[in-house]
Every structure is written in structure tokens, then in C-alpha cells.
Amino acid sequence: MKILKFAATLCMGLALFGQAEAKEWKHITIATEGAFPPWNSTLPDGSLTGYEIDLYKDLCARMNAECTMISHSWEGIIPGLLAGKFDAIIAGMSATEKREKVISFSQSYGTTGQTFAVLRGGELEDMPHSGEVFSLETELPGAEKAVADIKDLLKGKVIGVQTASIASIFLDKYLADTATIREYKSTEQHDLDLLAGRVDVIMASMGYLSTAAAKEGNSDMVVSGPRFQRGFLGRGSSVGIRKEDTDLRDMFDKAISEAKADGTIKRLSDKWFGFDVTPK
């Protein structure tokens, strides 16, 4: 009888404890990639820096939570979240339909669109529609015409892109039949191969490419061609969270809304991107 009572108390205690842990988000571990400037990058001393580093500190202060940020390889970042190695992903990850099948996302905290970069002085430097933005959601015909306009120029060329990025989905859908697509583990690797002449074009987010082109040693890299956003390219960078942690997602949503409203997101995006990435 005594043992039964003890077991019952223990069970109740465990149940309470388990519940308490699920409800209270006093401590949040966040994963980033640390190789995707200006969203996130790693300084020579190993510390993390970037728009998302400044942003997570601001959001955590708003949520009254103590946060730890770790860096994790890009291709393993969603499996890592699902395996419970950390609680949230803030890694310049766009909320796409495909990813939403596996994890859930907060509202977006920044969007720049996807575009191309080529070698300065090369034949692709002046691709048509440079500087124009096309939405795959609201102006699909216009966007598809823009793709058709650059398709001939890209015939037989090699295009570098990061594996599993939304740019790679775009290339598989629109340009895989005309050009050779080469997939890289990180964006910095395709930059090197563009400069070395192994690939003719790279595709990544505007935010990333404009920063990369401004980096020392990358003066031969130049942004060119149309810019695409929305639709299957996603809502924009959002916090990735396990589906069951709806309470954590609500907390991030609220904090992001506050940061948008008081201009924090605009201020940080001006600092890191040089233009406003606040999602409208």
C-alpha cells in the first residue's frame, strides 16, 4: 500500500515537473549557421556576429528569457531541432511550404528576395531586369517572363547554389533544363568558385550577395539580373520551432511584432544590410 502511494506521488510529481518544463521558457537554446552574412557569421575569434545575433538578443530580452546561441551545420539544422539539440533556429531560414511540413515558423523578421551574382566584366554582367523585383505570388506571369528573358543567356552555363536553399528550389524548377546546377554546402564556397571561374553564376538571397560582393577580395563579384521573392520562395526569414512548441512560437511572434512596431528591426537591418528588410 505504502509503495503504491509512493509511486502515485512520484508519478504526480513527474507529471507536474514535466508540465512545468513545457510551459516555462526561461532558457532557450537557439541554433544558427554562422556562415551566412549579414544574417549570421563567425568572427575570426570564433564568436558569432550579424543581424540575427543582434536580433535574438533583443527578442530574448522582450521574452524575459535567457538565451544561448550555438552554431550548427546548415544541412543538419532541421534534424538537429527535431532531435531536441536546441529549441529554435534563427539562421536566415525562409519559411517555405516544404519546411513547414516538418517544423513550424514564427512570423518573418526579414526578407530580401533571391537574385544572381556574376563576375564583373563578364558577358553576364548586364543581365536583363537587373534591380527589378518580382513576386512569385502576386505577379507570377511577370516573374516567369523575366526567367524566360535570362534563360537564353544562361544556356550551358554552370550555376552554383547552396544545397537545400530556396534558391536551389528555384533553379531546379526554372533553370535545371538549361544550365548545369552545382550544389555547395555553404554559400562562401560558391563565392570562391565564382571568383575562380569554376561557375559562371551563383544564386542566393539579395541580402547575402550584396554583402558578399562588398567584402574585401570579392571586388570581381557583382549582383546582376532580376530579383524574386514570395510564393514558393517563402515568407522570408523566420524563427524555426518544433511543431509541438506552439507556446514558444507565440512568444517569438509577439516579440517580433513588438520589434517591428518600435523600429528595432528597421534599425538593425539598416545597420547590417544597408536597406530595410522589415517584412511588410
Binding site: 516538418v102 537545400a164 552545382r182 550544389e183 554546402k185 570562391l192 568558385d193 571568383l195 575562380a196 569554376r198
Partner: protein, 240 residues
């Protein structure tokens, strides 16, 4: 829990990476043997310079990770203008050849030690006997040293080829879509690690099973004089 329909889909896609894995492995081991034999002969030569060069090659390649070597050959070489403007760039521009070079240098260094061991295992008396019969050095190598050394080195060399086949998976980091490259892409798309890697592992297992059977068959063929089945035993008894 494990989705067999998905595993079948993964199998179909990963099989597409098998030809590249085999190509990398076969071409790199074919060139690697040349490197291995050359380095082993250099290490055993009387010339101090040749010995030093071969020792340095083996020391550097064995002492650094293959991953680092692949990165250095692929990204390192591309940084230098003089390499980009030389005839070498036609090959080094392609990730395919960079992978082959790295694997070839690597297996050559490990292989040289196996070949060297084989060469050293040839009994001195047999070489002296050949020499006293008046055979020139090249003929001694052809008739005495190499046949004995190859038999000695074969089991260990088979092992090296298996290791090399598994090492081809590292080529995926320089955009080669061999088995592991395709697997990584598939995982990135589906986030299903277990199924995809189980299938990838199974494919490597199958390739290496065939390889090790092949080496074992070759070994049996070359060593048939030592086989102790009933017929040879009776011959031996009669001889005694």
C-alpha cells in the same frame, strides 16, 4: 516507424550516384598503384635524394586528413592566378579531377607502405640465387621479386582499395554527386536522415562486398600453390 516506400525511393535515387562512386574509386586506385609502386621503389633505392622525396610525400599525405587535402586541392589551388592561367587549370577547374587527384595521392602514400612491405618480404637468398644465375636486375624484379611481393601485399592492398572506396564519400563536399552527395541532398530536401543513410550505407556495403570477394578470388588464384586440399596433400606426401 521506418518508411519502406520512402527507402525504395531513396534507393532509386542513390543508385544514380553509384557510377560516380565507382569511377572515382577505380580511376584513383589505378593511378594510385603507380604512385604506390614508384614511392616504394624510391624509398628502397640507394639514392638519398629519391628516398627523401618519397619519405616526405608519405609523411605529408599520411599525416594530414584527406578532407583537408581535398579542400586544399580544390579551393587552395583555385586561389592562385598562375595556376588558373596554366594548362593545369583545364583539369583543376573540374571538381571531378580534383577529387581524383586527392584520392590518388592519398591511396598512393598508404599503398607505398604496403608495396614496400611486400618488397622487403622477399627472401634475400632468392634474389642472390637469381643474381648468381646471371639474371639482370629488371629480370630479377619481373621473375622473382614482383611475383613474390605482389602475393605478399595483395591482402593488405585489397584493404586499401576498400578504404579508398569509402573515402570517395568525401568528394561530396566539393559538389560531386556520388552516393553520399546524393544522400546529403536528399536529406536536405526531406530531413529524413535514418532512411537515406541506411540505404547509402547498404550500397557501400554491397560495393565493398563485391570488391572484397574479387580480391579474395584473385588471392586464391595467385596462392593456389599453397592450397592444402586433398589432391595437393597427396602429392606432397608422395614427394616426401
Amino acid at each position: 516507424m521506418i518508411d519502406f516506400a520512402f527507402m525504395y525511393e531513396a534507393l532509386i535515387r542513390l543508385v544514380g550516384g553509384v557510377p560516380l562512386t565507382l569511377q572515382l574509386s577505380l580511376i584513383a586506385s589505378a593511378f594510385g598503384v603507380i604512385f604506390a609502386v614508384t614511392a616504394a621503389l624510391m624509398q628502397l633505392s640507394d639514392s638519398r635524394v629519391l628516398r627523401a622525396i618519397a619519405d616526405a610525400y608519405v609523411f605529408v599525405i599520411r599525416g594530414t586528413p584527406l578532407l583537408v587535402q581535398i579542400f586544399l586541392i580544390y579551393y587552395g589551388m583555385g586561389q592562385f592566378d598562375f595556376i588558373r592561367h596554366s594548362f593545369l587549370w583545364a583539369l583543376l577547374r573540374e571538381p571531378y579531377w580534383c577529387a581524383i587527384f586527392a584520392l590518388m595521392f592519398n591511396t598512393g602514400a598508404y599503398g607505398s607502405q604496403i608495396v614496400r612491405g611486400g618488397l622487403l618480404s622477399v627472401p634475400k637468398g632468392q634474389i642472390e640465387a637469381a643474381r648468381s644465375c646471371g639474371m639482370p636486375t629488371v629480370m630479377i624484379y619481373r621473375r622473382i621479386i614482383l611475383p613474390l611481393a605482389i602475393r605478399q601485399a595483395l591482402p593488405a592492398y585489397g584493404n586499401e582499395i576498400i578504404l579508398l572506396t569509402k573515402a570517395t564519400s568525401l568528394a561530396s563536399i566539393i559538389t560531386m554527386m556520388e552516393i553520399t552527395g546524393v544522400a546529403a541532398k536528399m536529406i536536405a530536401e526531406t530531413y529524413r536522415v535514418v532512411e537515406v543513410f541506411l540505404v547509402a550505407g547498404g550500397l557501400y556495403l554491397l560495393i565493398n562486398f563485391v570488391l572484397s570477394r574479387g580480391v579474395a578470388m584473385l588471392e586464391r588464384r595467385l596462392m593456389r600453390h599453397t592450397r592444402t586440399d586433398s589432391s595437393t596433400r597427396s602429392v606432397q606426401r608422395r614427394a616426401a
